[in-house]
């Protein structure tokens, strides 16, 4: 916000100058990247200028910045303040009403015009704006009507209830009314999201609670998956035997990794864990006799419902026959959904319990000050190893689940990018916050998936535009955005494990900013 004393013309002048500079920088940056294109001709490579594209890019930067300057940064009353107020409890003034009402009216007008012109993409954007304002107003109305409800708790309980009843309800509705919902797709996606929620929670123990930056978490995921796959395919062991063994094997590897890195912290620890992740992957790739190398392991059996297989026919009774149902491939998938939901909730429960035990509190204290911990009689060796082992165990369990769900695993599933995504979920969610990690997992994994369904975008970017190709770019932008606006993650408060008065969440301001 500019100082109130400055006159309007002065402000416009500053805004224009600033936008001009930004445009100049954009021109310098884009002139080679966008302005020129090499084309492979018969005569060899030739340079093709693309002035229109360059002009568009520079124009977007110039006018975008000009608008931001005039109405947000240099403005006496930033427009964005009214939107931000939607998410606070401050009272609206007349200006806010005008801005929000104007936005809503403009959005409605936009929808109508777009519909008349037959441009559904623009209608979609206008609808999104309308929904945003509407949701904000709805939130305000609820908060206004019931100011003292424990909203965070309601949100959590509602989320868990939704997760519990979502597949059964939709399946029942579908069987009864044949609505044509893509249930198979929904369930597969939910299973994927829940797997990442579980991995995020598992890594949260190591990174969020114990403060040990682990860039090779996928190694434990891989160990779990391969342990499960090898045991299940070679020895024919069942799901409920293989799964805990997969977890234990990963925990053992957690301890093996833990020993050499006991003295390391921060950047150094990150490098060693990164290397560890790569070593595991490369061993899996090259140890052909055991792991079948790049060809992977296939034919991993699906879990059974306590001995009843989910199959159309079997030697014994199948799940469908036992319960007198008609066979449906979705039964098995719904079962998988509940297995991963249970595993994820188990991870959460164990973490929450651990935090209240001396060992869990020692993890958090170790993140704060290792030397102080030692002088308080805490064996930091044991503390670190248990953190690594516990985190690794949940990674291994998730890996075992992954193996049985996919039915096929190969080293390609366990590359560094997986570690990076899991770590990003933890960091974006807010280190140490269980709810934040869950939200981040839903948003990241769900968001990547949503990119596949943005057909409307082709209207802007031309035919053949595939937004899914840009997911890493968007991922990076999201990362930068979060680190600029919420450097401590989406949910940056932590609940105290013991309180004399009310257990209020404490915000993480002042300390631990941007530190991993």
């Amino acid at each position: 916000m500019a100082e109130p004393g400055i006159s309007f013309s002065q402000r416009v002048k500053t805004a224009l100058w600033d936008s001009f500079l930004a445009g100049l920088i954009a021109f310098a940056l884009f002139s080679l990247v966008l302005g020129l294109r090499t084309e492979d001709n018969v005569t060899g490579l030739t340079l093709q200028p693309r002035p229109m594209l360059l002009a568009t890019a520079v124009g977007i930067v110039f006018f975008g910045r000009l608008l931001l300057n005039l109405f947000v940064w240099q403005a006496e009353h930033p427009l964005t303040a009214s939107f931000a107020k939607l998410f606070t409890r401050e009272p609206f003034d007349r200006r806010d009403v005008t801005v929000l009402g104007g936005t809503a009216a403009f959005a409605v007008l936009g929808i109508i015009v777009a519909m008349l012109l037959g441009a559904p993409a623009y209608a979609l954007i206008a609808t999104a704006v309308l929904v945003f304002v509407g949701l904000g107003l709805l939130r305000r109305a609820i908060v206004y009507a019931f100011p003292d409800l424990p909203y965070a708790r309601i949100f959590v309980v509602a989320g868990i209830l939704f997760a519990l009843f979502f597949p059964l309800t939709t399946y029942a509705l579908e069987s009864a009314f044949h609505l044509g919902m893509p249930l198979r797709y929904w369930f597969d996606l939910s299973i994927l999201v829940l797997t990442y929620v579980m991995l995020g929670w598992g890594l949260n123990i190591v990174v969020g609670l114990a403060g040990l930056l682990d860039l090779g978490y996928v190694a434990f995921y891989a160990v779990g998956a391969y342990t499960f796959a090898l045991l299940a395919t070679h020895f024919g062991l069942g799901f409920w035997i293989c799964l805990p063994i997969a977890g234990l094997a990963a925990a053992a590897w957690g301890i093996i990794l833990g020993f050499p890195v006991l003295r390391l912290r921060g950047d150094y620890l990150a490098i060693v864990t990164l290397a560890f992740g790569e070593i595991i992957r490369i061993v899996l790739l090259n140890w052909t006799e055991v792991t079948n190398g790049p060809n992977g392991i296939s034919g991993i059996p699906k879990p059974t419902f306590f001995g009843l297989p989910f199959a159309p026919f079997a030697d014994g009774t199948t799940f469908a026959q036992f319960f007198g149902l008609k066979y449906d491939a979705l039964h098995g998938i719904i079962f998988l959904y509940y297995v991963i939901l249970a595993l994820a909730l188990l991870t959460n429960l164990v973490t929450l319990r651990m935090r209240r035990l001396p060992i869990g509190r020692a993890w958090e204290a170790m993140r704060e000050d290792e030397i102080a911990c030692r002088s308080l009689g805490i064996n930091t060796t044991i503390t670190k190893l248990t953190a690594f082992a516990t985190g690794a165990m949940f990674g291994g369990l998730a890996g075992g689940f992954f193996a049985t769900r996919q039915g096929f695993i190969s080293p390609e599933s366990f590359t560094f990018i997986e570690s990076a995504i899991i770590l990003a979920i933890v960091v974006l969610g807010g280190m140490g916050s269980q709810l934040g990690v869950a939200i981040a997992a839903v948003v990241l994994v769900g968001g990547f998936e949503a990119l596949r369904h943005t057909d409307g975008l082709q209207t802007f970017f031309g035919e053949g535009f595939d937004p899914a190709l840009y997911r890493m770019l968007l991922f990076g932008i999201a990362m930068v955005g979060i680190m600029v606006w919420r450097p401590r993650g989406l949910i940056s408060s932590r609940a105290p494990t013991i309180a004399l008065g009310d257990a209020r969440p404490i915000s993480a301001d002042l300390v631990n900013e941007g530190r991993a």
Partner: protein, 248 residues
């Protein structure tokens, strides 16, 4: 008052290859307040940290309660009920005051006695009760020092090591903390106090040692040391107001 609770016997310690302590000997008897004073860089903090094994004594012996602790790992030394309020306080900034105190109580190993111990330290430092659910990092310097001492006390120590509890604090707060130390000592706690604030420390202490460049150069009762010309020249120079107050 004759048995030694802690005995440091000609201990040499180094940081890397740089020797810091050159054969330091001192002993602390049960129920005493012993002070170690000296200038910046004399090796006071190192002496205290060597008791905890970091850095480890390369020569000499440290005996606590009749047991050689020279080679024990730090956390096991702490578990013998030696508590410290370290240099820079080292409280856990993101954890609440209660959580900090709970971390201290781990050594006591008596969850049922937690409330009793909590009562004791909050009687000593009532401000901690008012701040119980606040993050350690948001406390003022004096409150953090109180928290560091309280956290150490939660482990029911036999010996309390205090490294410069007066550092950077207002005189009124220092007075409060020193009064608390005195009270703790009256209840039977043995205290080893490292300080630059020579005057107040020696007034408080039963006995004191003066350290210069990694050597103990003087020792005696607090009043004896205060009367020594060398001590006054080195550590009380300029504090004429204080000297007048003592009538020296």
């Amino acid at each position: 008052m004759s048995s030694s609770l802690l005995e440091i016997d000609t201990v040499t310690a180094c940081y890397g290859r740089l020797p810091v302590l050159h054969g330091v000997s001192l002993d602390i008897k049960l129920g005493e307040i012993v002070a170690l004073i000296g200038a910046n860089g004399a090796g006071k903090t190192t002496t205290m940290m060597t008791i905890f094994g970091r850095p480890r004594a390369s020569r000499g012996r440290i005996v606590f309660d009749g047991r050689d602790i020279t080679q024990l790992p730090t956390h096991e030394i702490a578990r013998l009920r030696i508590a410290q309020s370290p240099e820079g306080r080292r409280i856990f900034p993101r954890m609440t005051v209660m959580e900090n105190l709970q971390m201290g109580a781990i050594i006591a190993g008596d969850p049922d006695g937690f409330d009793h111990d909590l009562d004791r330290v909050t009687t000593l430092f009532p401000v901690l009760k008012a701040r119980a659910d606040q993050r350690g990092g948001t406390l003022s310097g004096g409150e953090q020092q109180m928290l560091a001492i309280a956290r150490a006390l939660m482990g029911r120590p036999k010996l309390l090591l205090l490294d410069e509890p007066s550092l950077g604090l207002a005189p009124l707060i220092v007075k409060q903390i020193f009064a608390a130390i005195k009270e703790l000592n009256r209840d039977g706690l043995t205290v080893f106090l490292v300080e630059q604030n020579a005057y107040h420390t020696l007034k408080l202490a039963d006995r004191g040692y003066v350290m210069v460049n990694g050597n103990i150069t003087l020792s005696g009762t607090g009043d004896e040391l205060l009367a020594r010309k060398e001590v006054r020249a080195a550590y009380l120079e300029g504090d004429t107001a204080m000297l007048k107050e003592t009538g020296a």
